[in-house]
């Protein structure tokens, strides 16, 4: 690693920590129903919205009602998004005249955006109309994020409340999350991005003449698209020239802001934030990658504030940081070491003042190694899934860390809301084992962890695990699954494993090598995303309901403290061991085998 690598990492994590606490406390106040400064302007809007929709924000729900509300809301969103894609050909705001999206792809995309996964089997600029992007995808970017946060807040209330039957009102939590948190942040962010040159436009795509026409050798094609053979049997080549280019445009900045902030990750353009109109400058890159972890980090502070003990939030944040910083550093180190195959071709991979050095395949020159690896780690840790470099082109070891961060269950920061509720489940399991070790029925935040909680927590880990493993097994055993692979050897295995890990954990990032837009992958990954989201949310809310009913046990010397470095270390140990144990064999057949085969 170079000094610059370390410097950039310090700046990034420093800025993140600096912003997490004030934002977290602000969010806690919103969910506690307190009056916040923006309420002067937005308050009337909120109340009007409640009146129109017939919502009574003070009517509390028990966990079953809350879960039903989440599911009904998400199902409705899925249907609307599906129809919007199918019918976009006849709807306005479609300057490129894109036809309706095919059913399997529309299903996959609808599930993907409603589950906050944002797995994309399509290229935005060649598939989706502006209306679908704005009224469909961007809307889900907001509400799927807000729904995740609402579920988290319900779980926190479960810890906080004493002998209570209810855990809040989903509609109010959803509305307040969108109105007071996501919209104001997105407005600020959109303006920051536009200032850096991210496009925001309703006009159609522009054709421009290249100032430097490009001439290159290409294989000559016959009328049917096949290669024309020369008399000696080798394909015939001819000079081809490109004189003009199509510039895709659209309302990108507003959508990119929420895509980053809401851990959605679905790019406006196909190559996501590697695209110069989606992420033009190093500064825009810094803003965007900061946005990836901003809300997940701040939610730790929200949690601390809401349970009345900031140290508890800090401990979870420390555990997340410990894992993420280590993995970021390892990933950066591995990429900065360069690619032995490129070295064999005589490519200079040493870092200097003119180049970042290292393995630059699939990375943007304007970001270099470290700003690509920070992004790769952040986006996989946080279930965001947006990319500014192609993970498929990483060295095997460099690509292992993003994959591992996903497989740990998207709990190292994780999705907005969903990451922290996943982390809390791990904290529950850790408390259970550690609590037994100190000779007491385990307690977390004053709530006894008993049979029901263990059952639900085990269920969650089991479901996600099963989705990844069974999905990958089907993928590698069927012709349709194997057809999507574009690389031979263990790398092809990694591609399928990555896809199912990403979908089941609602991350949405892709290993890029896999061709996912087939009926098989659209369907299989859609199913994985669906169950990976809702079969987790329901047990989490069930735990929230069960915890809320319990009495709060006051802490004593015999109670295991859950804010100390020792507990953080134990928690990280449990996360790594459970993660490593369940994925070690599959990783051995993928990136580990590939890395060892490169001989270093």
């Amino acid at each position: 690693m170079t000094a610059n690598d370390i410097f950039q990492m310090v700046i990034y994590f420093g800025a993140l920590l600096l912003l997490a606490k004030p934002l977290g406390i602000y969010m806690a106040r919103i969910y506690e129903g307190e009056q916040v400064p923006p309420a002067r302007i937005l308050g009337p809007l909120e109340r009007a919205f409640y009146r129109i929709c017939g919502i009574h924000p003070d009517e509390e729900m028990d966990w079953r009602q809350y879960a039903a509300a989440v599911i009904i809301f998400s199902a409705a969103g899925m249907i609307v998004l599906y129809l919007l894609q199918r019918l976009q050909g006849g709807l306005p705001l479609n300057p490129q005249r894109f036809p309706g999206v095919p059913p399997d792809l529309a299903f996959n995309t609808a599930v993907s955006f409603v589950t906050n996964t944002d797995w994309q089997d399509y290229g935005g600029e060649t598939t989706m109309s502006y209306l679908t992007q704005m009224a469909g995808l961007a809307v889900q970017n907001f509400v799927s994020a807000a729904a995740g946060m609402a579920v988290l807040v319900a779980l926190i209330r479960g810890f906080k409340r004493n002998s209570a039957g209810t855990i809040g009102n989903f509609w109010a939590d959803l509305t307040r999350g969108v109105l007071y948190i996501l919209i104001p942040l997105s407005v600020v962010y959109s303006l920051l991005l536009v200032s850096q040159g991210v496009v925001q436009s309703y006009s159609g795509y522009k054709r421009v003449e290249l100032s430097q026409p490009v001439i290159y050798d290409a294989v000559k094609l016959d009328g049917k698209g096949g290669p024309v053979s020369s008399p000696d049997g080798s394909p015939l080549r001819e000079k081809t020239g490109v004189k003009e280019q199509i510039i895709p445009l659209g309302p990108a900045a507003s959508q990119i802001a929420i895509k980053q902030l809401g851990t959605n990750g679905g790019g406006f353009f196909n190559v996501n934030s590697a695209h110069p109109f989606e992420n033009p400058t190093p500064l825009s890159n810094f803003f965007e990658v900061l946005a990836v972890l901003l809300i997940p980090a701040a939610l730790c502070a929200t949690f601390g504030k809401m349970v009345g003990d900031m140290r508890q939030g800090r401990a979870l944040l420390a555990a997340m940081l410990l894992v993420l910083v280590t993995m970021t550093a390892l990933c950066t180190w591995s990429e900065q070491r360069g690619n032995p195959r490129l070295a064999a071709l005589g490519v200079n991979q040493t870092a200097g003042s003119l180049q970042a050095g290292g393995n630059m395949e699939g990375k943007e020159a304007r970001f270099g190694i470290v700003n690509s690896t920070i992004w790769a780690a952040a986006t996989t840790a946080a279930s965001n899934g947006s990319v500014n470099s192609m993970h498929d082109s990483y060295t095997p070891l460099g690509g292992l860390f993003p994959l591992l961060l996903i497989q740990l269950g998207e709990i190292i920061f994780g999705g907005v809301g969903s990451g922290l509720y996943g982390m809390l489940l791990f904290a529950v399991i850790t408390v259970f084992v550690a609590g037994l070790m100190v000779g007491r029925t385990p307690e977390y935040l004053g709530k006894k962890i008993e049979m029901f909680e263990m059952k639900m927590a085990a269920l969650v880990i089991l479901i996600v695990n099963a989705l990844v493993k069974v999905g990958t097994a089907i993928g590698v055993s069927t012709a349709a699954g194997v057809a999507g692979i574009s690389n031979p050897g263990p790398h092809g295995f990694s591609e399928i494993l990555y896809a199912f890990s990403s979908a089941a954990n609602n991350n949405g990032s892709a290993f890029a090598g896999l061709n996912g837009n087939t009926v098989f992958y659209n369907t299989a990954l859609g199913i994985a995303m669906f169950f990976g989201r809702f079969w987790v949310i329901i047990p989490v809310l069930a735990i929230a309901g069960s915890l809320a009913k319990k009495k709060q046990v006051p802490p004593s010397l015999g109670t295991l403290p859950t804010h100390t470095p020792l507990f953080v270390a134990f928690l990280v140990g449990v996360i790594l061991i459970v993660g490593a144990l369940s994925f070690m064999p599959s990783l051995a057949l993928g990136p580990i085998a590939e890395q060892l085969m490169t001989g270093r």
């Binding site: 084992v433 037994l436 590698v476 031979p488 015999g558 109670t559 490593a580 599959s586």
Partner: protein, 691 residues
């Protein structure tokens, strides 16, 4: 303490071991194994590998017959070891139960027609006695069933139940009226009203508890079971999907062969938490057994577990915190009397007084004023014993008449002798009484010498015990009928956290409810009928065996030694039980890391030879690597049986310190130990050439 008087059973008693060996084979019955999902999976794996071995005999096996055979054998051994651990724990309980049962021979009971010794006697077998029958038990007879003394006083040998050879007094009325079937009356006679129907007696309950016949899984055990089952399913998924993964990889790599089912089964068994899964029920039974070793009978496993969670301990002052009898703590002379003279007179008056109070006066004089104990005979003194008329005792010694007694009794005596009761002594006496202590006045002839203060004496070492409890996070509360002033003084001296003065059954109940409403778990001890409501309300209620039937029925633990400080031990046993489960779970899971490093490179070596780099232990061959991991996995169970039966050592430290210690030993240790163990086994099996 009671620990010394207890009979220790050797951990590996040959008789118990022999029976456990047989039992562990009997428990291979799949219908029995299915109750334990982890071990059930191992048994299915054993059957599967055995079938694979049989298949090789037909010449079409997936691997060398010798290899599959050895894997199958060690998998069966793994199941047997787990069964053995459980049988050992049960065996210890059964041995205890057999000893108890031997004290319950069917004896002939003297059935009375009514609750009167003189009513008509008929002889019936004890098994036919029903609740409400009256029986006569005379010296030498065995008490035919549980009951309550309605008439008579007798000394009873309860060693069959308690292991304590000193006889105890049982009498009608009060808190010492309960007798237990199987105990023996040594002197005098008793009329007993039977309180339990046949088959429901205390002894029956004890036997069924120690035998584990009625053992139900406790809440924490079920939660742990869920976690272990969850892990088992995850690892099942890991290994099952490994087959398609490896088939794909063979195609992708263009070399090697897919992983064999034998290796997959071996991997599965190594990964699932067999260590804790195999020892879990043994730990639970052993916890109950440790309670019995401490002479405490748990009426449910839940009570044992709850004991570890106790936050608040209610303790009776008398007998628990202070010695049962008041003792002399100070000599307070009247004006103009030398304190030495008072002490001398007091000691003389008490020399022949064998009551605990009298003895304590002699001792105090000796300790404080260096007055040696004298022999009353050689002094030629005449002892005047306490009588209900005079309410004084004393000594006549060469014309000196020394008396001690209650203030008003002595005042009457002085007045009769022509003396006057001095005002300063009167105020001394009042002060002592106000402090909650008992004043005794000493007079010689017509002259009052001063007063003796009889006060509560805090038991030695109890302060340290309470400090331990505080470190464990347990709050101690002293319950006393004294006034708040006295209570505060004793509470401060004993080092309890809080006290309840002028306690009544109602205030006790209220106190417990208040703490429970605050989310705390409350434990208390009690023996009297008036304790019963509070005992019933408390989460952990330890009834004294000497206590009344009502108290015993309200409690969920019965202390056979009737030692109120036993509660502290009970809490420790409860904590130890949970700790043993937690530490072995951690150990079991941490072990998996090393097993991966043994099995994964071995399984995939033919596909990706580069994975040989993961063989950090440098195990000889792929076969020896897999076999070593399986053998280690089986042997570790048997090595940990003593730990499971004895429990993890418990020290009263804060939760943080305990976690640090255990995480280091069982977590980090669990990571390292299998690396060494598997390497050693690999070296041995390679040296003797069985693979």
């Amino acid at each position: 303490m009671s620990r010394k008087s207890r009979k220790q059973r050797a951990l590996f008693d040959p008789i118990i071991v022999r029976r456990a060996l047989w039992e562990s084979v009997r428990k291979l019955n799949p219908l029995y194994q299915i109750k334990n999902p982890v071990m059930f999976v191992v048994e299915v794996g054993s059957i599967l590998t055995t079938c694979l071995f049989l298949q090789t005999l037909s010449g079409r096996g997936e691997a060398a017959p010798g290899f599959i055979f050895q894997i199958a054998v060690w998998l069966w051994i793994t199941v047997l070891f787990a069964n053995f651990a459980e049988s050992m724990a049960e065996g210890r309980g059964k041995a205890q139960a057999a000893a108890l049962r031997s004290s319950r021979q069917d004896i002939e009971a003297k059935l009375l027609a009514g609750p009167d010794r003189k009513s008509k006697i008929s002889y019936v077998p004890s098994a036919q006695l029903k609740r409400g029958d009256f029986v006569l038990v005379e010296a030498g007879n065995t008490v035919p069933g549980d009951g309550e003394v309605v008439e008579g006083v007798a000394s009873v040998n309860e060693s069959a139940i308690t292991g304590e050879s000193a006889p105890v007094i049982r009498e009608s009325g009060g808190d010492r009226s309960a007798v237990t079937g199987g105990t023996q009356v040594l002197s005098d006679w008793l009329v007993v009203r039977i309180t339990a129907n046949p088959g429901e007696t205390f002894l029956d309950k004890m036997i069924s508890m120690v035998e584990g016949a009625k053992r139900q899984k406790t809440p924490n055990e079920i939660s742990l079971d869920i976690l272990l089952a969850g892990l088992t399913i995850i690892f099942l998924l890991v290994t099952v999907t490994l087959l398609p993964f490896s088939i794909f990889s063979v195609r992708a790599a263009g070399q090697g062969s897919p992983v064999t089912v034998t290796v997959l089964v071996a991997l599965l068994v190594c990964l699932i938490p067999t260590t804790i899964g195999g020892l879990l029920s043994a730990i639970g039974i052993a916890g109950m057994d440790r309670m019995i070793q401490a002479n405490v009978i748990a009426m449910s496993g839940r009570a044992v577990e709850a004991a570890g969670d106790v936050d608040v301990l209610l303790l009776d002052k008398t007998g628990t915190i202070t010695l049962g009898n008041r003792q002399a703590t100070a000599f307070l002379p009247a004006a103009g009397v030398d304190i030495g003279a008072l002490a001398d007179a007091a000691q003389l008056a008490s020399l022949a007084d064998e009551t605990p109070e009298g003895r304590s006066i002699v001792v105090l004089a000796k300790e404080k004023h260096n007055l040696r104990e004298r022999d009353i005979e050689s002094l030629g003194a005449v002892f005047v014993p306490f009588s209900a008329q005079t309410r004084m005792s004393g000594v006549d010694l060469g014309g000196r008449e020394i008396r001690k007694g209650a203030a008003d009794a002595v005042a009457k005596y002085i007045t009769a002798q022509g003396g006057g009761f001095p005002d300063d002594v009167r105020s001394l006496v009042d002060n002592i009484a106000r402090e909650g202590a008992t004043p005794l006045v000493v007079a010689e002839g017509p002259r009052v010498l001063g007063a003796i203060r009889l006060g509560d004496v805090v038991k030695g070492g109890i302060r340290e015990r309470f400090a331990e409890m505080r470190n464990m996070g347990i709050k101690t509360i002293m319950i006393t009928g004294d006034n708040p002033l006295t209570a505060a003084a004793i509470a401060a001296e004993a080092g309890v956290d809080d006290f309840l003065a002028e306690a009544t059954p109602e205030t006790k109940l209220k106190l417990i409810r208040e703490h429970q409403a605050g989310g705390r778990l409350v434990a208390m001890t009690g023996d009297g009928t008036n304790d019963a409501p509070a005992l019933a309300q408390a989460d952990v209620a330890v009834a004294m065996n000497t206590g009344t039937q009502a108290a015993k029925e309200a409690g969920n633990l019965v202390d056979l030694d009737s030692n109120p400080t036993k509660l502290i031990e009970i809490v420790e046993i409860g904590k130890q039980l949970l700790m043993t489960r937690g530490t072995l779970t951690t150990f079991s899971i941490a072990n998996d890391v090393a097993k991966y490093f043994a099995i994964l490179p071995a399984a995939f070596l033919s596909i990706y030879p580069a994975l040989g780099a993961l063989n950090v232990m440098r195990l000889a061959t792929p076969q020896s690597a897999v076999l070593s991991a399986v053998i280690f996995n089986a042997l570790i169970i048997i090595f940990l049986v003593p730990l499971a039966l004895r429990g993890v050592t418990y020290r009263p430290l804060g939760a943080e310190a305990v976690l640090r210690k255990n995480a280091l030993i069982y977590g980090v240790g669990g990571l390292i130990v299998p690396f060494i163990g598997i390497k050693l086994i690999d070296m041995i099996i390679t040296a003797i050439g069985i693979v």
